[in-house]
Amino acid sequence: MRIKYSSALSASILNVILLFSLSVSVYGSTYNTYYGQASPIRAETPKVILQQGTTGTSTIYTNNTSAKVAVNATLWLDGWGYRKSHVIHNATGAGTNYQIRVVVHYGAGTDGGEHVYLNGKCRSDFGDIRFTDDGVTLLDYWMEEKVDSNYAVFWVEVADDLSMVNATIYIYYGNTSATYPYLSTERAHGDATFLFFDDFSVDLSRWSREKTSGIYPAIETSGIMRAGGGSTASPYGHTSLGSSPTFNNFLNGAIEFRWRETTNALAEIAYRGNYSANTGYKGRYDARTGTEQCFMKPPYSGWSGFGPSVTRFGDGTEVWHRGTITVSGSSMEIFKDGVSKATTTDTTYTSAGEIALQNHYGSWSDYDWVAVRKFVSPEPAHGSWGSEESGQTFDYVLKVANQASDNWNIRLKAYNQTNIGRLFNCTIFFHNGGGVSRQISIYNGAYEQQFGNWCNLNGLSTVYIAMTVSATTNGTSLVYAYLEVHVPGTSTYNLMIITFEIL
């Protein structure tokens, strides 16, 4: 009892002290009390509201003062400013990884067939040209030739299966920092693009020197293989450089190459070849005058011509030319500089084999490069080209409608975001028919602009919110923004939340 009594007493004493202290602290100083009253604060009918747009999927929330917009982004190659789509028509048997030729022109013109014009928006050296299928997946390509600020010729390997359905590819351009080759070497581009390729920039390790004459065949200078040692006197210095060490399965396809030859030279391209068995065919670019059957068999020794007799179409002036030989089943065709010189059929050799680069009679034939690609007849045809794109533009995703006679100033201001790193280009802008105002801009995954200039929203008028969006990867990005509706001449404004979802 005594202990309890003492505790209660102590507690009481402490309380008295505490109350006294509080009284001193609260009431011990001099102070003045004013009051501010806000009354009434009204819930008003909104004078500016959000309404549905013509594209995207918009959700307008109660009272039309907040909204969410969902749009699908175009997959876009990171870092590139422009692109055009191009349709490649299907062709029976074409399959996947078919190589097509595209001629890119630096200047202006009308797109059509294999020709596309980039209106001076690509690099003058064409180093920024890229090809994709789905918009972001690069397609292998090799640049055959170019004249700066004029044109460039590309071979593009179309990954999609062209046997049954058309394919759409995109050519990208407009990246000042992009260069070609972007792989280790141009040769690497050729290797990636074709079934077999050599530009003779390294050595002859991909080949077998089957028939030689002196030091030839040999790399004469870097990038040029000379099949030399030819002679107009017997035994004529026949040389053959066969691909069998690395490529021995040519059955059907096209052999593309660049060659030149000297006086009386016979540049010959063997295919379906088997050196040891002395089987296969070859096509001849004969620099002599007169006529002959330009297809021959077998290619290594004891050959004889077959097919139509045509005027010889070789060129002994040592000028570079483009050659092509196409083989499909029993059908064969030979081209010089894109012009068909002869066609024929034969069923003697139906097994796959190597290709070989040959020369004899004249002193030499030079080969700059050779590539083997897929070939079906008819080939996949070039279809339409799309117009230049800089991202996907929607008509408008939302309307901002002023329902009152009051004038306002409005702008968009991003205040939060998720996963915008995948956005190559996301531009949100106002337009009212009389002008466009960029409000929010994301480029290469980062904000270029988080809020826009103030725009007039006059009494009873409407402003449209539109978007241009493209992404480098699949995913979902969110941009949270305020639509700031400002009372002119004051610092009073309304914040309406708009969420932009980019899929």
Binding site: A38, I41, Y493
Partner: protein, 190 residues
């Protein structure tokens, strides 16, 4: 009991009675002795308030009516659109007319200091800034939270700060809904 015993008992009672009577007389005499002192407050003057409410950039929009002497303000035109935030960046100013800094505190004192359709309010916050949209002074006042205040903040001499109101009605608020809010400004010192 003997006669002697009865006499002793009687004496004791008498002495006890006399003792009690004496004590009563002493107590009575002591209570009636007083000293009178006087405290005089004169003059108690009506001073001009050193800190006053004054109009600011958004006072017209907010319907600010400053009371005589600047010690009261009524904001009678504020509102907001449902599910949107209405901001009056400078609904009213607080001006220190003194030549020395003053400690002030703006606060939402108690739950009874707001009324009306408070259930449809998403949030009302009040912020004191040095200029409209400028640096916040003290902490944010959450209207509806008893005791929520800026804390004690020192407003420099000859300085005017502004009071920002941010009002957000819930999406379901009706255009007939209203609330009233009272804030207390405590100015320390004479």
């Amino acid at each position: 009991m003997s006669d002697d015993s009865q006499k002793r008992t009687g004496k004791r009672l008498l002495r006890t009675f006399l003792l009690l009577l004496s004590s009563l007389l002493i107590v009575t005499a002591a209570a009636s002795v007083v000293n009178v002192m006087y405290m005089q407050a004169s003059p108690i003057s009506a001073e001009a308030a050193k800190v006053q409410f004054v109009t600011a950039a958004d006072s017209t929009a907010a319907g600010a009516q400053i009371g005589t002497n600047g010690t009261y303000v009524l904001l009678n035109s504020m509102g907001g659109w449902p599910n949107a935030t209405r901001t009056y960046q400078a609904a009213v100013g607080i001006q220190n007319l003194d030549t020395a800094a003053r400690t002030i505190e703006l606060k939402f004192d108690q739950a009874g200091d707001w009324s009306g359709n408070t259930a449809n309010i998403d949030s009302i916050t009040v912020i004191v800034r040095d200029t409209a949209g400028g640096t916040q002074q003290g902490t944010t006042i959450n209207v509806g939270t008893a005791g929520s205040s800026t804390g004690a903040i020192s407003i420099p001499a000859s300085t005017t700060w502004v009071v920002e109101w941010d009002i957000k009605w819930k999406a379901g608020a009706l255009s007939t809904n209203t609330v009233s809010v009272k804030l207390t400004l405590i100015v320390t010192g004479e």
